[in-house]
């Protein structure tokens, strides 16, 4: 969950020449692809290829031109999408199968309420507006708490990291706070936050921010420091201002790590919202609060539906940022549309 530096460079001899025919990227997993392309800057250059022939630049121009404009004839978009979604769908099918298995074969009938089969759990809840409506409202509250918390964590996290990266002493002074924030168990802080800030949505946003902040800070900082010494020299030689160095070198270099941080922070922010809901029973009800209520009342159908909804929420958030990541970073590091 808190694997922060997921995109550190790993040694890779891979060098995919930019020929339209090479289709390897389709096969390697997305993160692999990004990893491989990230080494581009440090990898010893110099793989001989027809593209380096100075005598025939026109020919190469055509070849490469095709790579970026005309797509290679391949499967249509929806089929590619289906291909990518297949493992997830399979996993879901697997979970459902196990679920049914446990429910019908493992559990004796009188204990089946512990794990009602999916169609019953979801069906009973979805068809009962008295349960479903408050549940969706609660989910909506938690979603907005998580998203507001995430936005704040991202803004504060990036700002804090930029500040730290501005000078060695700034990092030495500021980093310990981030670490302390990370090491105090959030569960120890939540009740205190409730006492100080009340039990409303604001207090829950604070929980989200605290929980999501560290991966934002650490990933951004790591990213801001990832530009090579030579590229810094380049900016020094061109008399770049500190602001130019930040916006044109450090920040773009940091973007891949920032996206890694963003995905982690988003997941944590969802957890933060649920934890806040769960502890702050007095305030407006969030989906986390309902989880607790259903548990206490042993409303198993509703409980499973609520769990499924939070899972969908988490996956949706994660997917959103994965897609965003691909759109922004993929352009530089070799994502092919």
């Amino acid at each position: 969950m808190t694997a922060t530096h997921a995109r550190t460079q790993h040694p890779s001899a891979e060098h995919a020449p930019a020929t339209p025919a090479s289709d390897q990227s389709q096969q390697s997993s997305e993160s692999d692809r990004l990893n491989q392309s990230r080494v581009g800057n440090d990898r010893p250059v110099g793989v001989p290829g027809p593209a380096t022939r100075p005598s025939a630049p026109e020919v190469e121009a055509r070849t490469l031109g095709t790579a970026s404009t005309t797509a290679v004839p391949g499967p249509p978009r929806w089929r590619a999408a289906l291909g990518k979604a297949a493992p997830i769908l399979l996993a879901l099918a697997g979970i459902a199968a196990i679920w049914y298995l446990v429910s019908y074969l493992l559990l004796p009938a009188e204990q089946r309420f512990l794990l009602p089969p999916p169609h019953e759990a979801f069906g009973n809840t979805a068809t009962n507006p008295a349960v479903m409506t408050p549940m969706l409202e609660a989910l909506g509250r938690s979603v907005s708490v998580a998203m507001i918390g995430l936005v704040i964590a991202v803004a504060v996290g990036i700002g804090y990291a930029v500040l730290m990266s501005s000078a060695g002493w700034a990092e030495r002074i500021l980093y310990p706070y981030a670490v302390i924030l990370q090491t105090i168990p959030i569960l120890a802080l939540v009740p205190l936050i409730g006492i100080w800030f009340g039990y409303g949505l604001g207090a829950r946003v604070i929980v989200c921010v605290i929980i999501a902040l560290f991966p934002m800070i650490s990933n951004t900082l790591f990213g801001l420091q990832s530009a090579s010494a030579a590229s810094h020299d380049l900016f020094t030689l061109n008399k770049a201002t500190a602001l130019q160095r930040l916006t044109k070198l450090k920040f773009p270099a940091a973007l891949p790590s920032i996206f890694t941080g963003l995905r982690n922070a988003a997941g944590l922010s969802v957890i933060g919202a649920l934890v806040g809901d769960y502890f702050f029973q007095q305030g407006p009800v969030g989906i986390g609060g309902l989880l607790r209520t259903y548990t206490l009342r042993i409303q198993m159908d509703a409980l499973f539906t609520a769990i499924a909804l939070t899972a969908v929420f988490g996956v949706a958030v994660f997917t959103l940022f994965a897609v965003l990541d691909r759109l922004v970073i993929g352009r530089w590091y070799g994502q092919r549309q």
Partner: protein
């Protein structure tokens, strides 16, 4: 200096001259904070039209020499004088910004200086054409081969029309075939642009083929132990490498290297 009569070996450092030199290193020494003495008492004079190559054993302070010349580092002793409106630096690795297209990478210096976009574009296009990358402007670095990346890097260095161009083993990471091609290319560009070039390499034949002068440095702490003028005019045909005169000069450089490493 008067017009050279014969086939004009480039002026050596020992010749005093009233004309402004592009780069003057005078009694330069460099000791790092760690205590390492990288250079001792180096004199080096460069004017436009000079293409001086430095060879020397690894760790003798060649990169340090370039960093001092470019102002990236400060000397411990001696003086560095640069008379250039623009100095450029080509690194060993292409050092391209992965998030910028080839053209945008080349535009960087002008962008940092705040030149208007249209001007930036045409200036970048000009040097990209010069290095043979017409048609590749919109490619991202990862879409380019090693040799092409290095061309972008050279184009980026040339875009400011420098009078002093520093090269730190730019072709060291390239394969042999690409390397030979790049040497020919660079020579053509040098002939056209007539900057003062200071070029570092580990390859003796590259040094002799490219330069007007080859400077041989001793092992650390680096000192200039030989300053060998290379007589031929440009352009130099690639076949020159197989001539006996060429062999004689590479032999001379290698001997100087061997005696002092």
């Amino acid at each position: 200096m008067t017009a050279p009569t014969a086939s004009a070996p480039a002026p050596t450092a020992s010749q005093p001259d009233s004309m402004t030199r592009t780069l003057v290193l005078d009694g330069v020494s460099k000791q790092f904070a760690t205590g390492t003495v990288a250079l001792t008492d180096v004199d080096l004079h460069l004017r436009s039209g000079d293409f001086v190559t430095v060879v020397g054993p690894s760790g003798c302070g060649k990169s340090t020499l370039l960093r001092l010349a470019s102002g990236l580092d400060d000397v411990t002793e001696g003086t560095v004088e640069v008379n250039a409106h623009a100095t450029s630096y080509v690194f060993q690795e292409a050092t391209l910004l992965e998030w910028r297209t080839a053209a945008k990478n080349v535009e960087l210096a002008d962008e940092l200086r705040g030149l208007p976009t249209s001007q930036r574009r045409s200036r970048a296009q000009e040097v990209l054409d010069l290095v043979g990358l017409t048609g590749f402007e919109k490619q991202f670095p990862r879409q380019l081969s090693g040799g092409m990346r290095m061309r972008v890097s050279i184009a980026r260095a040339l875009v400011t029309d420098p009078d002093l161009a520093l090269f730190d083993e730019p072709f060291g990471a390239l394969d042999e075939i690409t390397r030979l091609r790049m040497q020919t290319e660079l020579q053509r560009i040098f002939q056209l642009k007539k900057f003062a070039g200071l070029f570092i390499t580990h390859s003796v034949s590259e040094a002799v083929y490219l330069s007007t002068r080859v400077i041989v440095m001793s092992g650390r702490p680096g000192q200039v132990v030989a300053d060998i003028p290379i007589p031929w005019d440009y352009p130099r045909p690639p076949e020159l490498r197989y001539s006996s005169e060429f062999a004689a000069l590479t032999g001379e450089v290698s001997t100087a290297l061997g005696e002092h490493s």
